[in-house]
Amino acid sequence: MSGKDFTNATDFALVKLARRGNLKAFEELVARHRDKIYARAVSMVRNEDDAIDLSQEAWVKGWQRLKQFQGESSFATWMTRIVINLCLDQLRRQKRHRVESIQEMDDESGGAERQMPVVTVNPTERLERSELRNVIDVALGKLSAEHRTVLVLHEFEEMEYKEIAKTVGCSIGTVMSRLFYARRKMAALLAELKKEK
């Protein structure tokens, strides 16, 4: 298969070629899925430069582990799992270096959010799609890394509680608690940002 043909090749065919050491085939896979992998990294670490580095590191790891890809999920999903794990490692490193404030400890328990009044307004009403995207992005940025991670894995990656617990390395109860807190906080933030608009 020549370089010209790569654009028509399936991901699986490209993976097979890349496994045999064909770097051009792998480059085509990178070109196809690089934005998705980068977007997931941005949603988790909230820093564009870090997200670029992490996504590139994920691709290098992907190349290294190509033999482990069995095709049970799509190649893009498999690569997304790699970048998610790298982002989690990065967030853990950052957490170790961060002095946790009382506010963060309160955030972790989510005690205050459980008592918040229920938001009755639908945040998607009367907002343009682009506006809503922007509002959601801003609100996500205001969550702590732990809560954002659980939310991203559940809502964007459509992982079940059990799978999130395994990926993050915590109990299912913690996943449920963090997800609940994150959603309630997001509801409040979306209502607030909508009011500002």
Binding site: L23, F26, E27, V30, A31, R34, D35, K36, Y38, A39, V42, S43, E48, I52, S55, Q56, E57, W59, V60, W63, Q64, R114, V118, V119, T120, N122, P123, T124, R129, L132, R133, N134, I136, D137, L140, L151, H154, E155, F156, E160, Y161, M176, S177, L179, F180, R183, R184, M186, A187, L190
Partner: protein, 172 residues
């Protein structure tokens, strides 16, 4: 509403409850307005987030972005070569180490024996047998003037884990 009930509501929304429990929680939301309101809020939030995810694109050209990945892969490919070189060295070292230990042990034993015999010969008269290690070779000489016997040992260089062979030569 306690924490457990709140989390059960959320689990209902996420289809994470067993069928029977899901029916019970659903029935509860139909009786309890606060529970129904919280379920609605959670549902609206979930829909808003999942439907309106942002999709940022990489602010770099394909070539520039790929170049760093390519360098990373090349570095990765170089590592196994160095590792295999290192493994040859380690395998050689593993073979040589026991041989060296055996050789050093023999040298120490030889030195102790030699020193003991030297002391003994100094105390005896001149006709007593003598043992001498020759400084410029690996040979050791045993000489008994009274008997007219001379024995010479040549140490063979060490190249395996077995004990060194000694080749005695006899001269009368």
């Amino acid at each position: 509403m306690n924490e457990e009930q709140q989390l059960k509501l959320q689990a209902l929304l996420d289809s994470e409850l067993p069928e029977r429990e899901a029916r019970e929680i659903l029935a509860w939301t139909q009786r309890d307005t606060a529970a129904a309101a919280l379920l609605t809020e959670l549902r609206n939030t979930r829909q808003a987030i999942s439907k309106f995810e942002t999709h940022p694109t990489i602010p770099e050209s394909r070539e520039f972005y790929w170049s760093k990945i390519e360098r990373g892969i090349q570095r990765l490919e170089a590592v196994p070569t160095r590792a295999s070189e290192a493994s040859i060295f380690f395998r050689l070292r593993r073979l040589l180490l026991p041989s060296t230990v055996v050789a050093v042990g023999l040298v120490i034993t030889g030195l102790v024996e030699y020193s003991r015999m030297g002391t003994a010969s100094a105390m005896d008269d001149s006709d007593a047998p003598t043992v001498e290690a020759m400084a410029d070779s690996d040979a050791t000489t045993y000489q008994d003037k009274a008997d007219g016997t001379t024995l010479v040992w040549f140490s063979v260089p060490e190249d395996s884990q077995s004990t060194p062979a000694k080749a005695p030569g006899v001269a009368n």
